[in-house]
Symmetry: C2
Subunit: 220 residues, 2 copies
């Protein structure tokens, strides 16, 4: 039995974060795909509070919430650090990961799932948060500096899912004219081997998003 | 000039968290009260992204977001640890602090600021989250075990603000019959010297909440 197991879902940027971190650290693990439309007894047992993926199982211990799991992985397996050593740099990484989770991702989701008359406001908000990220990145290759770190992993939604969502909807939020720095980061990011090997198939993701959007209020 | 400064607001459970942590560590600091209805150039300069308190200034560096600040304080000043040493215990502390911020506090706020017809649903949700916390606490004195830790500090809203809100509104969410374990924790908590010395004046807080509630849709 594998020492490390991961309950995940192929299309979830959150469980993808954990896979990236485990691969970055070279940790062997067993991946157990979960059907979020029909939650398994295993998922309900191991994450009774949120009933969501990802859930990491390690030596009989259970951890939920992707950012919490990423910090646990970084503290448990020391090679290829995800967080910086210095307390201030670490605080900054946590600040930006939190910003992505609490501001950027909800704003972008909001565009996709909001009613047509609320969409303009949602777009404006998302653009503002993306601009803040663009300014933070400035002339760095990655948010983590020269190598991928916590913020880059947390930003995988912007690095990959957003492009698929743009293609599924025809909406163009991020492009080279508007966000040259972020676009450069996206290029670098999706071409990193640890990222590339762990992303879901793009076509499958686009088809999945299109199916969900056509069941919602989305108008092309 | 003090090495450590804190931009805070007297009625904010979030800036109170930071004060508790600094006092627990014995760190001298200068407290700079902020008027959140009329945000100062200082606050906008040091927290341009969220424009909120608390903001910690340390040796010319700036940190926002209370949970991020608490971890920074714990890593910078080592005495009286706030987070456990073990990676798994640390992950659990982070999980519960996040649960308080993302589930408990929004649900309780929702009761106070929701329309009357939405209040019942909000109460039900808050009770469910509080039950989860009650089960987590079980037979421990504090969430942190024998001494106050990250989760206890994060839960100051439940330890103190909730009681004031109950008095301000006449609503009884937490009582000894419903939540015996949580009520025992509240008693222990508000009687800890580091907590007691850092809480805002109860009467002032109740008056403040009453004034805000009477300007909203609250019906007694």
């Amino acid at each position: 039995m594998a020492e490390v197991k991961l309950l995940g879902a192929w299309g979830s940027p959150f469980s993808c974060r954990v896979e990236m971190a485990l691969k970055l650290k070279g940790v062997e693990y067993e991946y157990i795909e979960q059907d979020l439309a029909n939650k398994s007894p295993l998922l309900l047992k191991y994450n009774p509070i949120h009933k969501k993926v990802p859930v990491l199982l390690h030596n009989g211990k259970t951890i939920a919430e992707s950012l919490v799991i990423l910090e646990y992985i970084d503290e448990t397996w020391k090679s290829n650090p995800i967080l910086p050593e210095d307390p201030y740099d670490k605080a900054m990484a946590r600040f930006w990961a939190k910003f992505i989770d609490e501001k950027c991702m909800p704003a972008i989701w909001q565009i996709m799932w909001s009613k047509e008359n609320e969409r303009e406001k949602a777009i404006e908000e998302a653009l503002q948060h993306l601009k803040t990220l663009e300014n933070e990145l400035k002339d760095k290759t990655f948010f983590g500096g020269e190598t991928i770190g916590l913020v880059d992993i947390a930003a995988n939604f912007i690095g990959f899912w957003l492009g698929a969502a743009q293609e599924a909807t025809g909406m163009e939020l991020v492009n080279k004219e508007r966000f040259p720095v972020l676009c450069k980061w996206i290029d670098e990011y999706v071409n990193c081997s640890v990222v590339k090997e762990n992303l879901p198939p793009r076509d499958k993701l686009i088809a999945f998003l299109r199916a969900r959007l056509s069941a919602s209020s989305w108008k092309y």
